[in-house]
Symmetry: C2
Subunit: 330 residues, 2 copies
DNA sequence: TTGAAAGCGCTACCAT
DNA sequence: ATGGTAGCGCTTTCAA
């Protein structure tokens, strides 16, 4: 910047004015400075700028997702990116893989980088460790799973209602033995989905069979094995509710391998690309990822812009997408 | 940091030593400083640190992909992330959506943020605009598509060979009318895949029919419509080579809607989740995304570590994954 | 409209 | 083993 100033024959401050598009620079001087910038290939240093600025804005936000390569996280990231781009805000993205330690260390890393805000799909049980940052005004929006131990903005879907929807749908189609495939039990959304599954049975007056409830499944491989075991029972389920997309995939693999894909009903939680091209097409409870992402961005940027109202909790209602697999009769 | 120093009764420099884990601090002093840090909730400011450091490292790299929500880009991002995490390097990720203007502006934004390196899946025809940065030593690794107009490291798959593989496979199964569904023609990988498709015909002595070659398709919707039109021809194709994953999906939609999924052969380029669960399971040419990502990371971090050998160009051979859809007889 | 000087939070360098 | 001082590249403040 000093070189640019020298070449253009102006002061540092004037170059700064040009670079930041501030008023109070004559067209003539502006042109001279811009030419000098071009000649020297000067690139403004945003880190130095941030350091000195009174607001300390880095124009960067951090996003901690479950796994940037899974379709739900990736869709979220994309929706956020679109909102961020309009403001010329960059996104630091990371995957947590349900590892609490990683959440702690990545949050620290983002704070050391002075992000203007944080979006997180938490994997820890409680986020008390964020209390200091929240109090000092760091904008944080929780997504998919609400905050525990602290209060902050959040955007979640009504997991219980979604599970109730899915399970009731199969009960109404006459199923009485519906299996449940669930995520790691400690994850709050998994608990809510399980509660919805049970509620549906209660509402319909159908007894639950604990042998049909399998939790703590990490991914499609786990789900496939669990499904295999369920189908080997003396009195196997005639329907399955898979409480996450990867678990539904594992279930499909198992059913397909045994030629039961058209015999056992299946409803998944969380839509994914190609679910409609499976055979039978997969009936799912859909969480509108783009809508969630848009809401998250709205909350986050409002906070960044100084909104200091009490935390807001947005709940998005999931919808049942009927495609075929969930309508198979017992 | 000043406050920490005051509270611990040491100098600024000593706090800096503790924070950076430098040697030459007694255990006693270190403990005192750490306690002060804890009491004050002090968080090191990485931007200020970067500014002052002699190497100017930001421990941040920029990644420009086609679209972070598509499985190929997302897989790349994830592989890179895993390599970056080991070094405590953060990732700024963005989507280009095949828009050249966005590439220019995002590269600028990343340079202003002083990233230590850049990974890009370019969407521009030429990247001469990067010449200055490359000359001044910015590590850049091109992925999926090689650099044009400048020289830099790259990791690409052998697109021509992959297309040759796919097309020959169907020719060997007796097909003589194989359609081609291709990406935007200006994209170099699309051109290479088309060349492979043609080469296969030439090798087999099978004449090409221009009516069966459709390029400039943007996504599954385009592909579906193109496929519909092809199937409406008087002499429709008995097989299809879809040169990108989203195009294969469009083709499947069209075939499925007409009940031809088991009648017309289909091979896609680029594997994706669930391709094996379609009916029939989709035969594809697979590019090993994780392997590509790992190679990219290896090249990038070697450059960041000071490697100044001439640019390296890694070519990954794609493999044919036979699953069913590509083996349908004419 | 333009500029000079101070200082953001930190690390390099040299001294003790 | 510890500290003082200068200065990274920029913006702020105030003066001209």
């Amino acid at each position: 910047m000093r070189d640019v100033a020298a070449l253009a024959g102006v002061s540092l401050k004037t170059v700064s004015r040009v670079v930041n598009n501030e008023a109070g620079v004559s067209t003539d001087v502006r042109t001279r400075v811009e030419r000098a910038i071009g000649q020297l290939g000067y690139q403004h240093n945003l880190a130095a700028s941030t350091l000195r600025r009174s607001d300390g804005r880095s124009n960067t936000v951090g996003v901690l997702l479950q796994d940037v390569s899974n379709s739900f996280s990736a869709g979220m990231l994309r929706a956020l990116e679109d909102a961020a781009r309009e403001r010329d805000v960059a996104i630091l993205a990371s995957s947590l893989d349900e590892e609490p330690d990683r959440e702690h260390s990545l949050v620290g890393s983002l704070i050391r980088r002075r992000v203007d805000g944080l979006v997180m799909m938490p994997t820890t049980q409680r986020q008390d460790y964020l209390a200091d940052e929240l109090r000092s005004g760091l904008p944080v929006v929780f997504v998919d799973r609400g905050p525990k131990g602290v209060d902050a903005d959040s955007v979640v879907v009504d997991n219980r209602a979604g599970a109730l929807l899915a399970t009731t749908h199969m009960l109404e189609h006459g199923h009485r033995r519906i299996a449940y495939l669930g995520d790691l039990n400690r994850i709050s959304t998994a608990a809510a989905r399980r509660a919805g599954y049970r509620q549906a049975h209660k509402d319909a007056g159908v007894p639950l069979d604990p042998a049909l409830e399998v939790g703590d499944l990490r991914g499609d491989t786990d789900a496939r094995e669990a499904m295999d075991r369920l189908l080997d029972l003396d009195d196997p389920p005639t329907a399955v509710f898979a409480a996450r997309n990867s678990l539904a995939i594992g279930a499909v693999q198992s059913l397909r391998a045994r030629g039961l894909a058209h015999r056992v009903a299946l409803v998944g939680f969380d839509d994914f690309p190609l679910a409609d091209l499976l055979d039978p097409p997969l009936t799912v409870v859909r969480q509108d990822v783009r809508r969630i992402g848009t809401e998250v961005a709205r909350l986050l940027f409002a906070r960044i812009d100084g909104d200091d109202a009490p935390p807001r909790h947005v709940v998005i209602e999931p919808v049942l997408v009927v495609r075929g697999s969930g309508e198979i009769a017992p």
